[in-house]
Amino acid sequence: MMQISWSKFASLQKNPILAAGVFAVFLIFSSAAFAQPPDIDINTPSILVIKKSLQQRFSALKPHLDSGAIGVSADGLIAVRDLNAVAVGARAGLEILVAEENQDRGSLYREIARANGRPDWESDLKLTFGERFISRAQSGWYYRDSANKWSRKP
Protein backbone atom coordinates (compact mmCIF):
# COMPACT_ATOMS: atom_id res chain seq x y z
CA MET A 1 0.00 0.00 0.00
CA MET A 2 1.24 3.41 -0.87
CA GLN A 3 2.20 5.47 2.11
CA ILE A 4 1.51 9.16 2.00
CA SER A 5 4.53 11.12 3.02
CA TRP A 6 3.07 13.77 5.30
CA SER A 7 6.51 15.25 5.75
CA LYS A 8 6.32 16.46 2.13
CA PHE A 9 3.06 18.27 2.85
CA ALA A 10 4.65 19.74 5.94
CA SER A 11 7.58 20.96 3.88
CA LEU A 12 5.13 22.58 1.47
CA GLN A 13 3.51 24.31 4.40
CA LYS A 14 6.84 25.54 5.63
CA ASN A 15 8.05 26.69 2.24
CA PRO A 16 5.53 29.01 0.63
CA ILE A 17 7.59 29.46 -2.54
CA LEU A 18 7.59 25.69 -3.10
CA ALA A 19 3.85 25.59 -2.40
CA ALA A 20 3.26 28.35 -4.92
CA GLY A 21 5.38 26.49 -7.46
CA VAL A 22 3.36 23.32 -6.99
CA PHE A 23 0.16 25.33 -7.29
CA ALA A 24 1.43 27.01 -10.46
CA VAL A 25 2.28 23.65 -12.06
CA PHE A 26 -1.19 22.40 -11.15
CA LEU A 27 -2.78 25.49 -12.70
CA ILE A 28 -0.69 25.21 -15.87
CA PHE A 29 -1.67 21.58 -16.41
CA SER A 30 -5.31 22.24 -15.62
CA SER A 31 -5.32 25.25 -17.95
CA ALA A 32 -4.03 23.03 -20.77
CA ALA A 33 -7.52 21.53 -20.87
CA PHE A 34 -9.12 24.83 -21.87
CA ALA A 35 -6.13 26.03 -23.87
CA GLN A 36 -7.12 23.87 -26.87
CA PRO A 37 -8.01 26.03 -29.86
CA PRO A 38 -11.79 26.09 -30.24
CA ASP A 39 -13.48 24.46 -33.23
CA ILE A 40 -15.02 26.98 -35.58
CA ASP A 41 -18.77 26.58 -35.89
CA ILE A 42 -19.90 26.47 -39.53
CA ASN A 43 -23.28 24.85 -39.06
CA THR A 44 -25.59 27.73 -38.26
CA PRO A 45 -28.74 28.01 -40.42
CA SER A 46 -27.53 31.21 -42.10
CA ILE A 47 -24.14 29.67 -42.99
CA LEU A 48 -25.90 26.63 -44.45
CA VAL A 49 -28.09 28.92 -46.60
CA ILE A 50 -25.03 30.79 -47.95
CA LYS A 51 -23.23 27.49 -48.54
CA LYS A 52 -26.17 26.16 -50.52
CA SER A 53 -26.16 29.28 -52.71
CA LEU A 54 -22.38 28.90 -53.36
CA GLN A 55 -22.89 25.22 -54.11
CA GLN A 56 -25.59 25.96 -56.69
CA ARG A 57 -23.55 28.66 -58.42
CA PHE A 58 -20.45 26.50 -58.80
CA SER A 59 -21.75 24.67 -61.87
CA ALA A 60 -22.12 28.05 -63.64
CA LEU A 61 -18.67 29.23 -62.53
CA LYS A 62 -16.73 26.07 -63.31
CA PRO A 63 -16.55 26.49 -67.11
CA HIS A 64 -15.15 29.99 -66.60
CA LEU A 65 -12.64 28.73 -64.05
CA ASP A 66 -11.63 26.02 -66.52
CA SER A 67 -11.25 28.53 -69.37
CA GLY A 68 -9.22 30.96 -67.26
CA ALA A 69 -11.72 33.80 -67.65
CA ILE A 70 -11.93 33.96 -63.86
CA GLY A 71 -9.73 32.72 -61.08
CA VAL A 72 -9.54 32.35 -57.33
CA SER A 73 -7.97 35.09 -55.31
CA ALA A 74 -5.85 35.13 -52.15
CA ASP A 75 -8.40 37.40 -50.48
CA GLY A 76 -10.95 34.57 -50.46
CA LEU A 77 -12.94 35.91 -53.41
CA ILE A 78 -12.97 35.21 -57.14
CA ALA A 79 -11.91 37.71 -59.78
CA VAL A 80 -12.25 38.24 -63.51
CA ARG A 81 -8.88 37.48 -65.12
CA ASP A 82 -9.49 37.55 -68.87
CA LEU A 83 -12.80 38.68 -70.31
CA ASN A 84 -11.54 37.86 -73.81
CA ALA A 85 -12.00 34.19 -72.92
CA VAL A 86 -15.76 34.83 -72.83
CA ALA A 87 -18.08 35.62 -75.73
CA VAL A 88 -18.96 39.32 -75.86
CA GLY A 89 -22.61 38.65 -75.16
CA ALA A 90 -21.81 36.60 -72.07
CA ARG A 91 -19.42 39.07 -70.42
CA ALA A 92 -22.04 41.04 -68.52
CA GLY A 93 -23.54 37.80 -67.25
CA LEU A 94 -20.15 36.62 -66.03
CA GLU A 95 -19.51 39.87 -64.19
CA ILE A 96 -22.87 39.56 -62.45
CA LEU A 97 -22.07 35.95 -61.55
CA VAL A 98 -18.71 36.98 -60.06
CA ALA A 99 -20.32 39.83 -58.11
CA GLU A 100 -22.97 37.48 -56.69
CA GLU A 101 -20.35 34.88 -55.77
CA ASN A 102 -18.21 37.47 -54.02
CA GLN A 103 -21.21 38.85 -52.19
CA ASP A 104 -22.00 35.35 -50.90
CA ARG A 105 -18.41 34.69 -49.95
CA GLY A 106 -18.22 38.01 -48.07
CA SER A 107 -21.44 37.09 -46.24
CA LEU A 108 -20.01 33.65 -45.47
CA TYR A 109 -16.87 35.02 -43.81
CA ARG A 110 -18.85 37.65 -41.92
CA GLU A 111 -21.41 35.08 -40.78
CA ILE A 112 -18.77 32.56 -39.62
CA ALA A 113 -17.02 35.29 -37.63
CA ARG A 114 -20.33 36.46 -36.15
CA ALA A 115 -21.54 32.92 -35.37
CA ASN A 116 -18.36 32.30 -33.41
CA GLY A 117 -18.74 35.52 -31.46
CA ARG A 118 -15.66 37.09 -33.06
CA PRO A 119 -16.56 39.62 -35.78
CA ASP A 120 -12.89 40.71 -35.74
CA TRP A 121 -11.91 37.33 -37.25
CA GLU A 122 -13.52 38.22 -40.60
CA SER A 123 -10.32 39.40 -42.30
CA ASP A 124 -8.34 36.41 -40.97
CA LEU A 125 -11.06 34.07 -42.21
CA LYS A 126 -10.96 35.67 -45.66
CA LEU A 127 -7.21 35.07 -45.91
CA THR A 128 -7.45 31.51 -44.55
CA PHE A 129 -10.25 30.64 -46.97
CA GLY A 130 -8.34 32.33 -49.79
CA GLU A 131 -5.31 30.19 -49.07
CA ARG A 132 -7.43 27.02 -48.95
CA PHE A 133 -9.36 27.91 -52.13
CA ILE A 134 -6.05 28.35 -53.98
CA SER A 135 -4.62 25.19 -52.51
CA ARG A 136 -7.73 23.19 -53.46
CA ALA A 137 -8.15 24.73 -56.92
CA GLN A 138 -8.07 22.31 -59.83
CA SER A 139 -5.05 21.93 -62.05
CA GLY A 140 -5.21 24.51 -64.86
CA TRP A 141 -7.25 27.05 -62.87
CA TYR A 142 -5.80 30.50 -62.35
CA TYR A 143 -5.20 32.08 -58.98
CA ARG A 144 -4.19 35.57 -57.93
CA ASP A 145 -1.72 35.82 -55.06
CA SER A 146 -1.49 38.56 -52.43
CA ALA A 147 0.83 40.53 -54.76
CA ASN A 148 -1.99 40.60 -57.38
CA LYS A 149 -0.01 38.29 -59.66
CA TRP A 150 -1.95 35.71 -61.66
CA SER A 151 -0.53 32.20 -61.93
CA ARG A 152 -1.83 28.94 -63.29
CA LYS A 153 -2.16 25.90 -61.03
CA PRO A 154 0.21 23.25 -62.33
Binding site: P16, A20, P38
Partner: protein, 78 residues
Protein backbone atom coordinates in the same frame (compact mmCIF):
# COMPACT_ATOMS: atom_id res chain seq x y z
CA UNK B 1 8.21 33.56 14.43
CA UNK B 2 7.63 37.24 14.98
CA UNK B 3 5.07 39.30 13.12
CA UNK B 4 7.64 40.70 10.66
CA UNK B 5 8.75 37.18 9.69
CA UNK B 6 5.16 36.07 9.16
CA UNK B 7 4.42 39.13 7.11
CA UNK B 8 7.51 38.48 4.93
CA UNK B 9 6.52 34.87 4.37
CA UNK B 10 2.98 35.85 3.54
CA UNK B 11 4.25 38.55 1.16
CA UNK B 12 6.58 36.12 -0.66
CA UNK B 13 3.76 33.62 -0.94
CA UNK B 14 1.37 36.19 -2.37
CA UNK B 15 4.02 37.37 -4.81
CA UNK B 16 4.66 33.83 -6.06
CA UNK B 17 0.92 33.18 -6.36
CA UNK B 18 0.43 36.39 -8.29
CA UNK B 19 3.16 35.54 -10.80
CA UNK B 20 1.75 32.02 -11.26
CA UNK B 21 -1.76 33.37 -11.82
CA UNK B 22 -0.47 36.00 -14.24
CA UNK B 23 1.30 33.30 -16.25
CA UNK B 24 -1.77 31.10 -16.40
CA UNK B 25 -4.06 34.02 -17.27
CA UNK B 26 -1.71 35.07 -20.06
CA UNK B 27 -1.72 31.53 -21.46
CA UNK B 28 -5.52 31.37 -21.26
CA UNK B 29 -6.03 34.81 -22.79
CA UNK B 30 -3.66 34.08 -25.66
CA UNK B 31 -5.75 31.08 -26.71
CA UNK B 32 -8.93 33.14 -26.50
CA UNK B 33 -7.59 36.22 -28.29
CA UNK B 34 -5.57 34.68 -31.10
CA UNK B 35 -7.19 33.53 -34.32
CA UNK B 36 -7.37 29.69 -34.40
CA UNK B 37 -5.71 29.26 -37.81
CA UNK B 38 -5.75 25.45 -37.75
CA UNK B 39 -9.47 25.25 -36.92
CA UNK B 40 -10.19 27.87 -39.59
CA UNK B 41 -8.34 25.79 -42.19
CA UNK B 42 -10.36 22.72 -41.24
CA UNK B 43 -13.58 24.75 -41.45
CA UNK B 44 -12.54 26.12 -44.86
CA UNK B 45 -11.77 22.61 -46.14
CA UNK B 46 -15.17 21.35 -44.97
CA UNK B 47 -16.95 24.19 -46.77
CA UNK B 48 -14.85 23.76 -49.94
CA UNK B 49 -15.69 20.04 -49.92
CA UNK B 50 -19.35 21.00 -50.03
CA UNK B 51 -19.29 23.87 -52.50
CA UNK B 52 -16.68 22.47 -54.90
CA UNK B 53 -17.71 18.83 -55.05
CA UNK B 54 -16.09 18.30 -58.43
CA UNK B 55 -12.97 20.32 -57.68
CA UNK B 56 -11.38 17.49 -55.78
CA UNK B 57 -10.78 14.56 -58.18
CA UNK B 58 -10.75 11.99 -55.35
CA UNK B 59 -14.06 13.28 -54.05
CA UNK B 60 -15.47 13.46 -57.56
CA UNK B 61 -14.67 9.77 -58.10
CA UNK B 62 -16.25 8.89 -54.76
CA UNK B 63 -19.36 10.94 -55.60
CA UNK B 64 -19.61 9.19 -59.00
CA UNK B 65 -19.35 5.77 -57.34
CA UNK B 66 -21.98 6.75 -54.76
CA UNK B 67 -24.31 7.91 -57.54
CA UNK B 68 -23.78 4.67 -59.44
CA UNK B 69 -24.49 2.68 -56.29
CA UNK B 70 -27.69 4.57 -55.56
CA UNK B 71 -28.81 4.32 -59.21
CA UNK B 72 -28.11 0.61 -59.49
CA UNK B 73 -27.81 -1.05 -56.07
CA UNK B 74 -27.73 -4.60 -57.52
CA UNK B 75 -24.61 -3.92 -59.58
CA UNK B 76 -22.96 -2.18 -56.67
CA UNK B 77 -23.40 -5.19 -54.39
CA UNK B 78 -22.01 -7.66 -56.95
Amino acid sequence: MNIVGRFKRCYRFMLAMLSALTFVSAAGCSTILFFPAESAQKAADKIIDDIWPAADPAKMNKDMKDKEKSANPEVATK
